[in-house]
C-alpha cells in the first residue's frame, strides 16, 4: 500500500490578507482537504472560495447550521463562490474549518465539496458546495473579507489506490 495522505502546502499569514490562493495543485491525488483556522482583522464576514479563477455564477451550496438556539438551513443557486463559513470578528475565538474537495481531478463529474466550519462563539456549520464544471481543480482562492494575521491554511492531498 502506498502513502495516502500528503501535506501539500501550508501558510500562516504574517499580515492581514484579503485572499489566499493555492495554485499549481498536482492532479495525481483523489481528494483534497483544506484545514483552516481563521479570524477577521475586524468585523465578522462570510468566508468563501472560488476555483480555477472562476468568478462566474457557477457555484451553489446547501447549508446546515446550529446556533445554540436554533437549527437552520439555507440554499443558494447560481452563486459566485463556494462557502467556507462565518469568519469571526477579531475579538472572538478563532474559527476552524475542514473542507474536502472530493474527486477534484475527475473529469466525469461536477466538483462537490464538503465543509465543516466551527465559529465557536456563534455557529456550527456544515456546507455542501458545488462547482458546475467537470474541469480538474488546479487552484482555489479563499476570499470574502480580510483574514487576520495568524490565520492558517493547510492543504492535504489524499490518494486512493486504483
Amino acid at each position: 500500500m502506498s502513502r495516502t495522505y500528503d501535506a501539500l502546502a501550508s501558510v500562516t499569514l504574517t499580515a492581514n490578507a484579503t485572499t489566499v490562493t493555492f495554485s499549481d495543485i498536482p492532479s495525481n491525488y483523489t481528494d483534497l482537504a483544506l484545514v483552516a483556522q481563521t479570524r477577521s482583522s475586524s468585523a465578522a464576514f462570510i468566508g468563501e472560495y472560488t476555483v480555477n479563477g472562476d468568478t462566474g455564477t457557477n457555484y451553489s451550496w446547501t447549508r446546515l447550521e446550529g446556533t445554540g438556539s436554533a437549527a437552520n438551513s439555507g440554499r443558494v443557486s447560481n452563486y459566485g463562490a463556494m462557502r467556507l463559513g462565518q469568519v469571526p470578528a477579531s475579538t472572538e475565538p478563532w474559527a476552524v474549518s475542514q473542507c474536502h474537495f472530493m474527486s477534484y481531478a475527475n473529469t466525469s463529474m461536477f466538483k462537490s465539496n464538503l465543509t465543516v466550519h466551527i465559529s465557536p462563539s456563534a455557529f456550527v456549520q456544515a456546507w455542501t458546495n458545488l462547482w458546475r464544471s467537470t474541469s480538474v481543480i488546479t487552484s482555489f482562492t479563499i476570499l470574502g473579507g480580510t483574514y487576520a494575521a495568524g490565520s492558517t491554511f493547510q492543504l492535504f492531498g489524499i490518494r486512493a489506490e486504483s
Binding site: R3, T4, A7, S112
Partner: protein, 199 residues
C-alpha cells in the same frame, strides 16, 4: 489587496510526518486499502471484504450517483460483515436548504448513511460522503460510524447531512457493504475508496 500564492515548488517535499507527531519521515498513518469505481454496467452495491485487522479506524470516501429516475437525492445503506438483519440504528441531522430536521431509525436492517444523487437530478452531480468507522476491530465495542454527506443540485434540491450509524455487534468488521435503495444501481464513475488509519 494582499495575495498569497503558493506554487507547486512550495508543495514538494512536504510529507506528512511534520503534521503527525511521533512518526518519522516516510511513515504513513493512513493507507489506501481498496478503491471501487463503478463501470458502465452499474452495480446495486459495493462491498469491501477481507479488510485487514491491522488498523485502528477505517474511512470510506465516496462519490455516488444512482440510476433512479427520481428527482430526489436518495440514501444508501451501510452494512457490516454481510449482516442483513435488523441489527442497526441510525440518526441524522440534515439541512435541505428549506429546513433543518432530524431523523432516527432503530432495529433496522437498512441504516441510512450516505447521500446518493439520482438519475433524475442535475447531470454530472454526485453525492459526496466521508464515513469514519471508528475502532472497527477493537473487541468489546459495538461499531459506530460517523458520516458527513451531502449533495447540491444548484437549486433543484440540496442536502448537508451528518449521520451516525450503530451496528449492534462487537465482532471485528471484516467487510463493509454500501447498498442503494429501491432497486436502483450505482452508476458509472461512482467511487468508494476505503482507507485504514493507524492508531
Amino acid at each position: 489587496m494582499a495575495v498569497r500564492r503558493l506554487s507547486v515548488a512550495d508543495m514538494t517535499g512536504r510529507k506528512g510526518s511534520s503534521f503527525v507527531g511521533g512518526y518519522g519521515a516516510g511513515d504513513s498513518v493512513m493507507d489506501s486499502i481498496q478503491t471501487v469505481t463503478i463501470g458502465a454496467g452499474g452495480a446495486a452495491s459495493i462491498t469491501f471484504s477481507s479488510i485487514p485487522q491491522t488498523y485502528q479506524h477505517l474511512q470510506l470516501r465516496c462519490v455516488l450517483r444512482n440510476n433512479s429516475a427520481s428527482t430526489n437525492t436518495l440514501d444508501a445503506y451501510l452494512r457490516f460483515n454481510g449482516d442483513n438483519g435488523t441489527n442497526y440504528a441510525s440518526h441524522a441531522v440534515a439541512g435541505t436548504g428549506a429546513s433543518a430536521f432530524t431523523t432516527a431509525t432503530t432495529s433496522t436492517a437498512n441504516p441510512t448513511a450516505m447521500m446518493v444523487s439520482s438519475g433524475g437530478q442535475l447531470a454530472n452531480s454526485f453525492g459526496v460522503n466521508i464515513v469514519d468507522i471508528l475502532d472497527y476491530c477493537t473487541t468489546g465495542k459495538n461499531r459506530v460510524s460517523r458520516i458527513m454527506g451531502g449533495a447540491d443540485m444548484n437549486g433543484g434540491s440540496g442536502y448537508a447531512v451528518i449521520y451516525s450509524t450503530l451496528w449492534l455487534n462487537t465482532a471485528p468488521v471484516t467487510s463493509v457493504t454500501l447498498a442503494t435503495i429501491g432497486g436502483s444501481s450505482f452508476v458509472q464513475f461512482s467511487t468508494a475508496a476505503l482507507y485504514g488509519i493507524k492508531g
